[in-house]
Amino acid sequence: MLRFIIRRIVVIIPMLFIVVSLTWGLIRLAPGNFYTGEKKLTPAIEKNLREKYGLNRPWYVQYGKVLWNIARFDFGNSLKYEGQSVNQILFRGLPVSATLGLSAYLLALFVGITTGTLAALKQNSWIDYASMVLAMIGISIPNFVLGPLLVLIFALNLFWLPPALWNGFPSKSIVLPALTLSAIYIAYIARLTRSGMLEVMRSDYIRTARAKGLSETQVVFRHALRGGLLPVVSFSGPALAFLITGTVVVERVFALPGLGNYFINACFNRDEPLIIGIVAFIAVTVLGFNLLVDISYGFIDPRIRY
């Protein structure tokens, strides 16, 4: 087990190196610079800017600096936001994205697993059909449509909830974004739970459990759910990583100061240190959560041993 974990952690390093190098190269390929605007700068002013930010140095020096920065977990200063370090921005944006992502995640798990289990237990009943139709709708409506629709109903017609902005947690302002963000995950989790449960409920060990004379509640909660939720676990690990590292569309529509908003603007602004910082952070988080998922398999599924 320990050897497995160490091996996986060691693999993260070359992965990160590849991700960062690719990102760095792609930024180079994109035309324009962080100071390029419609108003053209005089050559002298452009030269001043390039000197100030070290863009006049050879590429290998700049590339080396990027790698050295990452080795020290210090991504340098943002080019666009004068005097702000990338680490500062990460630490400021992450709590917002994480709060929102975690709320959406817990909501999705709770609602998704409940409906999925109910649908599986009452297969071919109206509960099953209704929840699977809703799940289909949840999967097909993109969140850039769902968000504005929810705003229209709950903020502009009923005036129950604010249409945008961030007021911390807990507050009314998190309800609509969390709902928007979780919709598609609720749908996926419900479907995964349902199919997983259907399969497990027909397996031999469930029959054994029933034959032992266990009550139906015990069968479902102690035996069936453990096996039935395996697909949900492998789906929701990376999903959590993506949820808490920021979601571009929802953060934009609801004007939330999270990482996703920073990321999309950093790309538009060609803010190299910020882009690399966020990409590296997301990469590490995703790799980390994948590892967690693999480890948790060992606990959930008795068939898997490391």
């Binding site: 324009g32 002013i45 000197e51 097909s140 449509v145 229209l152 502009l156 017609n157 945008a164 004007a255």
Partner: protein
């Protein structure tokens, strides 16, 4: 100021699928119920309980350092935090006294003396003196600060040289500096008027500006001032300014060699001389005493005073900047000079400013707080405004698709903007090299129809209409497809019988290149359709991502036609006409005419306001005749403010001096429609 069609609209309106239809049914009932209420205003009209204005400043400010950031999103915040020598008038955007109580201009607009009020203070209580302005301007020009706005100060003597880290040439033998007038290159001195045509009035002898000529006394340089004796002393610095301009050369060897190669006489003269770097102390700003600031310009610039309200010239606190370096704008370090001071800043979320009791005009400031929200998505802004969580918005926040609903409302604000939309022609290659082709393309577009369709004003000349009262605007060519075809035949695209032949016209050598923001694409499609309909030629549209697009434009790397917009840096026609003052920079067309430059120079030497406008109008006519650009439309500002917000007017810049804004609780005094602009 750059004008990339402010705001980015995420296109969730474009792809509402079947799924939305299902939910839509339930919405129709809900929607009907809600819209039944308030038809006069858009959304809620309950004033906030406190004296606070909730405004949207646009995308995240790059910095709270007014000399670093160039955008309007930052300008809106700087208007609260920093004050300059002058301030924008809330209705006309013309300069009005702020920290400077009054100013005097010398006889030819090449030197200005500002008299500062004695009670101006920074937010920490320190007095604001002329020395602070000297520091501010020198600091903004420092090469290491690398301000992208520095070029705005280049009108000041030796400012450009200092910002470019250039050198003077010093002769150790005679202890003198080499002077520009002894080595004037051909291009430096516009030689009038051998080439002048009948329509161009002969330029006056283009001598150096008064600020570079020796004067007997300061009083002799300025027109007589009736109310009081001029207190300004002559000083060694003043005499230095009034000595003839020194030769300025690039500091790096490569640049200097290039400059010297172009001027052999100078190259011979610099041998054995010393190169002394231009220093901050050489820049033409001088604190004559604590409350008198004298600025010497390198050229005559009648528009200079209207620049003084620009963020680049707003005063900053020297000790704070020098002590904290980068971190001086951190909320716990920052010292400001405006009517409001920073209270809280949560990046990407909100920035709160509070009334500053230290401000000299604090007793007249009515708002206790302003909350700026950093929002980018226009739909989000409209939603917040409608729900009563925003009190006002900035320009271009009512997109064309919403106009039908919002324009009839009494809180809709609109005015012609000091900004224009136009297409550039690449005059260096392809069919658009021929002026007849450029003129034909311009004439084959029905600009009025296009403007009506987008609810804006058509632009036939180059200057935005109605922004500069008394400006005798020349007329561009009218819509005339027949004449357009005729011109194309003249340009060699006719068939045997002398009719225009679209087959012959090399439409594939031209593209309309545009960035996708705002309405740029609908415009391009409209124009494409017009040319198809009126000329029978199909010109392709090429969409480029913003930065890619701008990089291509800067290098003239486009085929035929490319989109551009420009909004005024200061309220003077020169901010528009100056685009073509140099062949490089923001020109982007490849067209450059010394005669045009000569006219602009002459205009800026002209003291009489109306006469100056006439000369500028001649320059504009010359520009229109050469047609390196195809003017399209004048933008209109289009924003909303709640009726209880007073002191905000639909002006041409949509920049508001916040100290005059207030919340009116008496419904009888609310604004129903656009407030009176002439009072």
């Amino acid at each position: 100021m750059r004008n990339p069609k402010s705001g980015i609209v995420i296109g969730y309106s474009s792809r509402i699928g079947v799924a939305a239809l299902i939910l839509g049914v339930s919405l129709i009932t809900a929607g009907c119920a809600a819209s039944g209420g308030n038809h006069v205003f858009f959304g809620k009209t309950d004033p906030p309980r406190e004296n606070v204005l909730r405004y949207v400043s646009g995308s995240e400010p790059e910095s709270l350092d007014p000399q670093i950031s160039a955008g309007q999103n930052e300008a809106r915040i700087y208007m609260a935090l920093y004050e300059g020598l002058t301030e924008y008038d809330p209705k006309t955007s013309a300069p009005v006294p702020a920290i400077a109580e009054r100013w005097e201009v010398n006889k030819d607009f090449s030197e200005i003396t500002f008299h500062l009020r004695k009670n101006a203070r920074f937010s920490n209580g320190d007095p604001i003196t002329a020395g602070d302005f000297v520091y501010t301007i020198r600091r903004g020009l420092t090469p290491e600060v690398a301000s992208s706005n520095a070029a705005l100060a280049y009108y000041i003597k030796y400012a450009e040289a200092y910002n470019e880290s250039a050198v003077f040439v010093f002769d150790p033998d005679s202890q003198t500096f080499l002077l520009e007038k002894d080595f004037a290159g051909v291009e430096e001195q516009p030689t009038a008027p051998a080439s002048a045509t009948g329509t161009t009035p002969p330029a006056r002898t283009p001598g150096p500006p008064l600020s570079s000529q020796p004067v007997e006394s300061v009083a002799a340089e300025y027109p007589p001032i009736p109310e009081e004796q001029t207190p300004d002393a002559d000083t060694p610095f003043h005499r230095f300014m009034h000595s003839p301009a020194r030769v300025v050369l690039p500091a790096d060897d490569k640049g200097r060699k290039k400059a010297l190669d172009a001027n052999p006489k100078l190259r011979a003269a610099v041998a054995g001389k010393q190169f002394l770097p231009v220093k901050a102390e050489n820049v033409g700003v001088e604190a004559v005493d604590d409350y008198t600031l004298r600025i010497s310009l390198a050229q005559q610039a009648p528009f200079f005073i209207s620049l003084m309200a620009h963020q680049f010239f707003r005063v900053i606190h020297r000790n704070t900047v020098e002590h904290f370096g980068h971190a001086w704008t951190d909320p716990h370090n920052i010292v400001t000079s405006g009517a409001f001071k920073l209270e809280a800043w949560q990046p990407y979320d909100r920035l709160v400013v509070a009334r500053d009791p230290m401000n000299w005009d604090a007793s007249r400031v009515k708002l206790d707080h302003i909350v700026f929200y950093m929002l980018q998505d226009i739909t989000t802004m409209i939603n917040l405004y409608r729900a009563g969580e925003l009190d006002a918005m900035y320009n271009h926040t009512v997109p064309p698709a919403w106009l039908e609903v919002i324009a009839p409302m009494k809180d809709f604000m609109d005015a012609p903007e000091a900004g224009i939309e136009f297409y550039r022609f690449n005059t260096t290659k392809g069919p658009t090299k021929d002026v007849r082709v450029r003129k034909a393309l311009n004439m084959a577009l029905d600009k009025k129809a296009m403007a009506d369709w987008r609810h804006v004003q058509p632009l036939t000349a180059f200057m935005p209409t109605g922004i500069f009262p008394g400006y005798p605007q020349p007329k561009g060519d009218p819509f005339d497809p027949d004449k357009a075809k005729h011109l194309l035949v003249e340009a060699g695209y006719g068939d045997a019988s002398g009719n225009f032949d679209p087959e012959k016209f090399s439409a594939s050598e031209i593209e309309i290149v545009t960035n996708p923001d705002g309405s740029n694409l609908p415009y391009a499609e409209f124009i494409q359709a017009q040319w198809k309909q009126n000329l029978g030629v199909t010109i392709q549209i090429r969409i480029m991502e913003n930065k890619t697009f701008q990089a291509a434009q800067a290098k003239l790397d486009y085929k035929g036609i490319s989109r551009f917009g420009w909004s005024a840096d200061y309220m003077d026609p020169f901010t528009f006409l100056g685009l073509f003052y140099t062949p490089t920079g923001n020109n982007g067309t490849g067209w450059w005419d010394p005669k045009y430059v000569e006219l602009l120079d002459e205009a800026n030497r002209t003291v009489d306001h109306q006469r100056r406008y006439e000369i500028l109008a001649q320059a504009e006519k010359l520009l229109l005749d050469a047609q390196p650009v195809m003017p399209l439309v004048v933008a209109t500002t289009r924003w909303m403010k709640k009726p209880y917000v007073k002191g905000m007017y639909p002006n041409a810049t949509t920049l508001f001096p916040w100290k005059w804004v207030y919340i009116e609780r008496d419904q009888a005094k609310w604004d129903y429609g656009v407030p009176n602009m002439s009072e």
